[in-house]
Amino acid sequence: MSGIDALAARIRADLGPDQVLTDRQQLRTYECDGLAHYKVIPALVALPRTAAQAAAVVRACAAAGVPFVARGSGTGLSGGALPHADGVLIVTSQLRDILEMRPADERAVVQPGVINLQVTQAATPHGYYYAPDPSSQQICSIGGNVAENSGGAHCLKYGFTTNHVTALEVVTPDGELVRLGGAAPDVPGYDLVGAFVGSEGTLGVATEVTVRLTRLPETVRTLLAAFHGTDQAGAATSAIIAAGVVPAAIEMMDALSIEAAEAAVHCGYPAGAGAVLVVELDGPSAEVDAQFDEVTALCEKNGAFEIRVAADDTERQLIWRGRKSAFAAVGRISPDYIVQDGVIPRTALPEVLRRITEVASSQGVRVANVFHAGDGNLHPLVLFDDRVPGEAERAETVSGAILDLCIEYGGSITGEHGVGVDKARYMPRMFSDTDLDTMQLVRCAFDPDGLANPGKVFPTPRLCGERPGRRQGAFEHEGAEVF
């Protein structure tokens, strides 16, 4: 029996025969996540139904020295859940119960396979919701959100997954079930929940997540403002921020992404718009009404030629539909495209947009731009036709150049999609060797054998070397004399 066969037998015995897949056709279903141009067929897939079963799978992997990768709904856009060819893919979709709904504590306890939107749906009757709202919230899982520290359109005001997770139960890479954090705030000790959220599956597998519930706002008001170009829309965004308003969301789309959204979902955005802003304010009516007038005036002052205010929920959803469909919609105007995710300081927006246009035209490639304008998170969509020789490479060049621009302007190579397998090679452009080495000290503390999602986040793994407890040679600092 080969190593993998023995491992499959052990996991089958621990879980159940129908919870382990080894048939190549079935395994192929899991060969990629949302970033479909990376494909690897895993050696086997395990589908645990309880936290104890998930721990048993990891224990079996640890004993056999076999790597494992956790996967939620597989919607990730950086290849974070890309399987390991010789490893086990642990799919959390069977861990799908909301365990506790505690509105009086502003907490819910859920399993990792629960879908993001289900938490909000379960909390809404109590007057609460789960604030992080990635565009994929109808299908993405809370466990995946924890791994990626997912954001969403409303994180400008409400923060990211990391600001809304207070406790975790995790399987450590040696197969132990451990609780981190708590339902109450400020749990004593290192903030290991904070370290774990966003670690992209490299520190273990979350099996239970305690999330913060947020009070549904009394009022939500949404407007769509059409501008002649992105410079004006950017100036309006800056003016809103400078006025001291913190909207729940400010989203921008440029002409090409508007064209795509129009073709796909007929959102009816104003004709001739070179850019649109979607601005949403929420909170107590007494505050929102005053601020909404101010935002409207600032949009007009900065050149908005048409402003539509959503009169009700239906109109609000119509405004959002164009924005939320933008990624997929680009498929209507281009056979292939790369979804990029980078961050710049908001104030650099006009300059960076000009430079993206320059790079794109120098390569003969079109770029559609969709942004979370309020926090400087860019989602340029680089369009290409794979059938045209060389075009995919040129698109890749433009996509990489956009990340270099983000770094040059003091931003980040990823605002919400994660590093995964896709951007690990860019990490050294943003961080020094020592920075990456320091992050991997945490990795070594959790996973000294490097079995949890290897090959992701870090371009080169750190050898964890000597086990804790033994003295390491102190680092000799440049120029420092030692007495």
């Binding site: 990211f160 451990v178 749990v187 959220v197 420092a480």
Partner: protein
């Protein structure tokens, strides 16, 4: 001359941490100098000192050769108002960051506290209800590791998921993982108008304030044995909005609208030589925990709207262990924790000041990786870390 000879001076009478005197004190002026100092101090045990506002809290270090004072590493490096961020050196007084032009770091801290110390001690105050705590507002960090290497994580943009978030790990690490030299914070606009609604009301009324649509920035309580319990709520926003919300809230609580917070606002009870605790609870159990603490003779204040309370009493040394045990049991039952911040002389050794902590084994493993020789604040942290 070594860096140590250059920078370290003999400790004075005040260079003491929880009763443990230091041998030397050094105040580096830059991250680079601090890194050289730490590399040169490889055989010394170290405690880091900012404004010293929390230095006498918690267990004493097992050993103390060198205090590294951060206050020469001060100043705002950058305030990008349009991007709502600031980059500051660790020794910068928080007071400076509370009044940046038109903006603020919305993180309450006691007078004299530094930015680095506030992060290291995870200090927060009333406005955490609206703005969160250091972990939510810190978006980038630079540290000197115990081996003397300079490392950073995060950056200057709020939205950023590249790499591990070491800022979270260093927040509340009490100097046990190395020296914080620079912090990048998210800022907020200064509110146009504020109002405080005060009422004589039991902590059970906090739930009604939370579920009303009033978006308070802080909900604080004050309760003590034999006194009427009080609630004070901070509202921030537009003039018209604050006026309307304050009026609604005053009706809800049967209280008054004022411009100033009460004298006990953001003032944890900490009688000299007495007992001081930080207590946490899940929101629905806050009233139970307050009742238990008051029943044990403690004055209780704090952020009832977030489940974080501070309690204190001029307790005699003979009753401390008993009071801590009873209040800790109440906090545990309420889904939270009880941490002893300070205790009468002679009682600290006998107390488990941090109390039980989930995930302690993983925490020890993190400490081993960052500080394998246990030189930084040895014994000051949870589980003797």
């Amino acid at each position: 001359m070594s860096v140590l000879d250059d920078l370290a001076v003999k400790a004075g009478d005040d260079d003491v941490v929880c009763g443990m005197p230091a041998r030397f004190v050094a105040a580096p002026a830059s991250a680079r100098e601090a890194a050289a100092l730490i590399a040169a101090a490889r055989d010394l045990t170290v405690v880091i000192r900012g404004g010293g506002t929390r230095l006498q809290q918690g267990p004493p270090p097992r050993d103390l050769d060198l205090i590294i004072d951060t206050r020469r590493m001060a100043g705002v490096v950058e305030h990008a108002a349009g991007d709502l961020i600031t980059v500051v050196r660790a020794g910068t007084p928080m007071a400076e960051l509370h009044r940046l032009p038109g903006q603020q770091l919305a993180l309450d801290a006691p007078a004299g506290a530094t930015a680095g110390g506030t992060v290291a001690a995870n200090t927060s105050g009333p406005r955490r209800l609206r703005y969160g705590t250091a972990r939510d507002l810190l978006i980038g960090i630079t540290v000197v590791r115990p081996d003397g290497r300079i490392a950073k994580s995060g950056g200057k943009v709020v939205k950023n998921v590249a790499g591990y978030d070491l800022g979270k790990l260093y927040t509340g690490s009490f100097g046990t993982l190395g020296l914080i030299t620079e912090c990048v914070f998210r800022l907020h606009p200064v509110p146009v108008t504020t109002a405080v609604v005060r009422a004589t009301a039991a902590p059970t009324h906090v739930a009604a304030v939370l579920s009303a649509q009033l978006a308070p920035s802080a909900i604080e309580i004050n309760a003590a044995p034999g006194a009427e319990p009080e609630i004070a709520v901070l509202l921030e926003g537009t003039p018209a909005g604050v006026r309307d919300r304050a009026a609604t809230l005053a009706r809800l609580l049967g209280g008054d609208v004022t411009t100033e917070p009460p004298s006990w606002w953001d003032t944890p009870p900490d009688p000299p030589g007495g007992l001081a605790l930080k207590l946490t609870a899940t929101l629905s159990r806050v009233p139970d925990l307050v009742a238990a603490a008051v029943g044990a003779g403690l004055t209780v204040r704090g952020s009832a709207g977030t489940g974080v309370l501070y309690a204190g009493a001029p307790a005699g040394a003979d009753t401390v262990a008993e009071v801590v045990a009873s209040v800790r049991a109440a906090a545990t039952a309420a889904g939270g924790h009880a941490v002893v911040l300070s205790a009468p002389d002679g009682t600290r050794d006998g107390l488990d000041m941090w109390g039980p902590v989930p995930g302690l084994d993983l925490m020890r493993r993190v400490k081993e990786r960052f500080d394998p020789d246990h030189r930084f604040a040895p014994g000051r942290f949870v589980g003797g870390i």
